[in-house]
Structures are given as C-alpha cells and as structure tokens.
C-alpha cells in the first residue's frame, strides 16, 4: 500500500531556508534542491551569497547577491573633501590598496591639471606593480586553498609578508596604506629602497618559479581547473570583462600598454594572453603577470632618480611642517587646508587604470567646490561577479568554488 505524496512530503523535516521540490517517489532520480551558499560560507570569500537550484550536484539555475559589505563610499565621496577621501580608497580593493590610492590621486590631478614630478611618478609605478604582485599572489593562493592546495598558499603568503615589509618602509602601514596625496606622496622612499626592492624582486622570481613547479603541472590541480568555469571571448565582451580575466579568454588588451599613463611607455613588458578562458588559464595569466610586474619593478628601480616628490602647484601642496610650526600664516594655511580643503575646478572626468583585477575607474563630477558632486567608483569585481551565474550554469557545484576563486572577487570593491 502506498502513502499519498502529500503525506510522504510532510514527513520530510527540513530546516527553514531549504526547500525540496523533488518527487517523493523518485528520491534519488530527478531531485532538485535549492541550496543557499553564503554570505558567511568559507567558499564565498567573505560576503557573497549564491542561491542555487541543484539537480544532483549540477547547478541548474542560480542567482547571486551582494551588498553585505556596502559601506557607502560613493555617498562619503560627496560628503568628504577630496583630500579626506584618500583613506576611503584603500578600502576598495584592499588586496592592492596602493593601486586604488594612485588611481584616485591621478583622477583628481587630471581634473585639476596638476603635474607631479618625475620621481613621484616612478614611486607610484613601483607602488602599483608591488600591489599587483601582492593581489595576484593572494588570488592564486586563495584559489588553490579552495581546491585543497594549502602549502601553495603559504609560499605565496610568505612572499606577500616580505612585500608588506617593503610597503611598511614606504608608508608605515601594511594593508591600508593611504600613501598618495593629491599632487604628491605621503613621503619619499627611504634611502636604499631601490636596492631592497631589487633583492625582493630576485627572491620573488625564485619563489614564483617554485610555486609554478609545485602546482602548475599537478595532476589534481589540472583536473580541477582545465575546462572548468569557461567563459568565451564573446561572453567576456558582453559582460564587460577586463584585466586578467578578459586576457585569459583571448582579449589582448592591457590599459597599461594601450592607454598608457604615468611612465608605462618607458618600460618594457609583455602582456600575457591565454585563449581558453577557463580557471587554469586565469591562473596562468596571473602567474605570468607577476613575472612581468617583477620586470617592471626592476626597471623602475633602475630608472628612478633622486628629486622632489611634490608638485609645484600651490593649490594642493600640503604646507611644510617647519613653516606650520614657526609662522602664523603657515598655521592658518595648514588649518584651512585640512579643514576646508582645496577647491577643484568644475568639470568631470573618468580616469581609468589597469588595476590588478581589471579596469578601475573613478568618475568624478566637480562643481567647483571642495567636495565632489558625484564620486563614482567603477570596480571590476562587480562586472566579474555578475558573470558567475551564467558561467557556472550546468557545472558541478564544486566547480563553482573554483570559478569564483579564479575571477578574484574582492568584497570591498564589489560593494563599495
């Protein structure tokens, strides 16, 4: 004698949030389950959420949610002076905070028409490439941890700690640096910095080779990554992919080479491009990009010369401490500079830079005040995370973890 379907369904006692749509007579056959992953799941990198409809282990349909670390930086940009907003830019992509600092400083300088001296530009380039290496190390490391390769992560993280030491020498902070100022830098690089940088570059080259040897030809790693999370060139164009993720799918575009700012014209580097657009290719592009960044770093260390680091422009120049401490006018200037800030001429500009993840853009509209009228931050992670659902449709749920790790979603930049 068979029970009715309703009676059997009522016996299934599931915790709230989970729903079963399957047919009770066919429990192990065609069963579809809705699973909620995140926002605190370890595979979801902090604060992302995915709700997936599973058929067995295959994702049939899914949707992603974010906004769990939304900190209203765009609203703050309209309520803080241009100088004060520098600290908020660190917390965008916190894996490579220096790139965000530099891009923000550049975008305000572009609006104001401020030219910075040569040494400042070289130090900024060093900052960018150092941050790029750190970001890629953490991305490939975490991606490997998600798939079970823990020691690979430790190699990368140790080298990252060494890079932190260099960054600490530059600006005193490890992660949230706030190193740049509009029209200059917080301070000059210390004596002998170039030498230490070159020593670090040489050591990192060796470590990258070791890491490459450790993981790239590993059979398990290849089985978990090759052909997983494929996103074709056309899809990448439709979803506005940029950076390493786009280059892994065959889009040969690097804003450092193609829309050069700073002195990227004066250094030589290659742009690694892969063709398949899967997890393995994204990993390979990142590993090769680290090598190219190291090349740029050693060239920068060679070409950097002694000189001033601050712009001559009086509007943005932070008053000298000796003047502030010894003269009345200096003190008033200092007070006015930090309390009211400087005025940025009316206008609007979109400044883009090849950040570690892709195109980072600051769209600033100024109405001639000391605060922006609109401060829009274009983080690449939003566009990459949007593509996760179409990317993993029809794949196994374990492959979703690999795909998510490979596109390197940073919550700070995603939610802003």
């Amino acid at each position: 004698m068979t029970e009715s379907k309703e009676a059997r369904r009522s016996q299934i006692d599931l915790p709230s949030g989970y729903q079963v749509e399957h047919d009770p007579d066919d429990l192990w056959g065609d069963s579809r389950v809705i699973v909620n992953i995140g926002p605190t799941h370890p595979a979801m990198h902090g604060a992302l959420r995915m709700v997936a409809k599973l058929n067995g282990e295959t994702i049939e349909k899914s949707y992603c949610e974010f906004g769990f670390t939304h900190r209203a930086k765009e609203k703050l940009g309209e309520n803080r002076t241009f100088h004060n907003f520098t600290v908020y830019t660190d917390r965008l992509n916190y894996c490579s905070a220096l790139i965000n600092n530099v891009t923000y400083a550049m975008s305000v300088e572009k609006l104001m028409g401020v030219e910075v001296p040569e040494r400042c530009v070289w130090i900024r380039m060093i900052c960018c490439e150092l941050a790029r290496v750190m970001d890629h190390l953490i991305c490939v490391g975490i991606n490997a941890v998600d798939l079970g390769a823990f020691s690979f992560f430790l190699y990368g993280f140790h080298q990252r700690e060494e890079a932190y030491t260099l960054v600490e020498k530059l600006c005193g902070a490890r992660l949230t640096t706030s190193f740049t100022r509009i029209g200059g830098l917080m301070g000059d690089a210390p004596d002998g910095f170039e030498k230490e940088l070159k020593a670090w570059v040489e050591k990192t080259r060796k470590v990258i080779d070791e890491m490459d040897e450790l993981l790239t030809n590993n059979k398990i790693w290849k089985k978990r990554t090759v052909g997983v999370g494929v996103f074709s060139k056309q899809d990448c164009m439709d979803y506005s992919f940029s950076g390493p993720n786009a280059r892994a799918a065959g889009i040969d575009l690097d804003l450092r080479r193609d829309q050069p700012c700073m002195f990227y014209k004066n250094v030589e580097f290659d742009v690694p491009v892969a063709q398949n657009g899967d997890v393995f290719d994204r990993y390979m592009v990142r590993i090769n990009e680290i090598r190219q960044s190291l090349n740029i770093l050693s060239q920068c260390a060679d070409k950097m010369k002694k000189g001033p680091i601050w712009s001559e422009d009086k509007r943005v120049r932070i008053p000298e401490k000796t003047v502030v401490h010894n003269t009345m006018e200096g003190l008033i200037h200092h007070f006015k500079f930090f309390m009211t800030g400087f005025e940025v001429p009316a206008g609007e500009a979109y400044t883009q830079f090849e950040a570690a993840n892709g195109e980072l853009g600051f769209y600033i509209v100024s109405k001639g005040a000391t605060r922006a009228h609109r401060m829009r931050i274009r983080g690449p992670s939003v566009w990459h995370f949007q593509a996760l659902s179409p990317m993993v449709e029809g794949e196994k749920i374990a492959d979703m973890v690999a795909a998510l790790g490979s596109i390197n979603i940073i919550a700070g930049e995603l939610d802003r």
Partner: protein, 188 residues
Amino acid sequence: MDIRHPIPTNGGEWVTQFGEIWRGQVADLKKTFDGAIEEVKMPQADATDVPIIYVKRDRLVEVLKFLKETDGFEYGFLADITATDESSELRFEVVYQLFSQSKLCRIRVKVRVPEGVSVPSAVSVWKGADWAEREVYDMYGVQFEGHPNLRRILMDERWVGHPLRKDYPIKGYQIFTDPQAVDPERLK
C-alpha cells in the same frame, strides 16, 4: 589649470591622439540621428575629458546600438552605467561610459530624466548592463523600461528610499532583524 589643459603623465595625450576621430564621430552621429542629439560637449572647449553626447530618452537604445556596432565607432566595451542627481527640473542624468577596444578611445553618453520617468534599458545591447542598471535603480530610483529583473541590489530589498539621492541623509539607518530570505521565484 584644470581638465581643459591635459597633463601627459595623467594619460592626457587623448586630445591629440583622438581629437580628429572624435570630431568625425560626432559629425556622423549628428547626421545619422538628426534631432536625437540634444547637446555635445567636447574636450578642451568644455570641462570634460572625453566628448559627452546628450541623447533624447526615447532614442537612447538606438544610439547605443549604433555606437556599438557601426564601423568607425566600435564602442563595444560598456565601462560603466551610473547616474548623477542634479538638483534641477530634469533631476537625474544617467551616464554611460563607453570604450572602444579597437580604437582605444572613450566616449560618454548621457540622458536627462525627470523624477518618476523611466529610461529604456540597455540590456538588449549589453548583457552586462543588467546589474549596473539595477544599481542605478537602487541608489537613485531611476526606473529602466524593459529590464528583466529590476530590483534592489546593494541594499536590502525592504529598504525605503534611495541612498545616493541628495536629499537622503547620510546617517539614515534602517535596521532589519532577520536576513533577506531566499526567493525561489528567481530560480524558475
């Protein structure tokens, strides 16, 4: 000095590099979409880094498609969609940042909309416009006509008001006691 005097190290060679291309493109656009282009702002003449093209609302998708697909334009990369809150009669300006990956130049398209009026959605032109438009809706309350799934994205779905409007207070907290629930409707 301001944006009208570009500095080379800020990437400011765009005027000499793309000036001719932009002038040709703007002339072409004006010829093709007679009456749909409200206003054009050019770099150096106005305080902007790239040309801004103000388009009439009802012909926006047409213009975007033209910019994306026509030879000589090829703005295939949608860099960003955002909005600004101008405290005027036409309250919002929806901004489209476009980038041509073959010609390496950028252009900006803007649409002026009053409050409560919707803008045609660009999802049919770029699939990736989906989330960007949802964010504009979430932050400013601008409706997008023809959008497949126009709902809040950064804020909780029970949130009241649109935070980036100029009249929303910066400390306007809204507290919820339970997490946002799973919506099985979206998995159909």
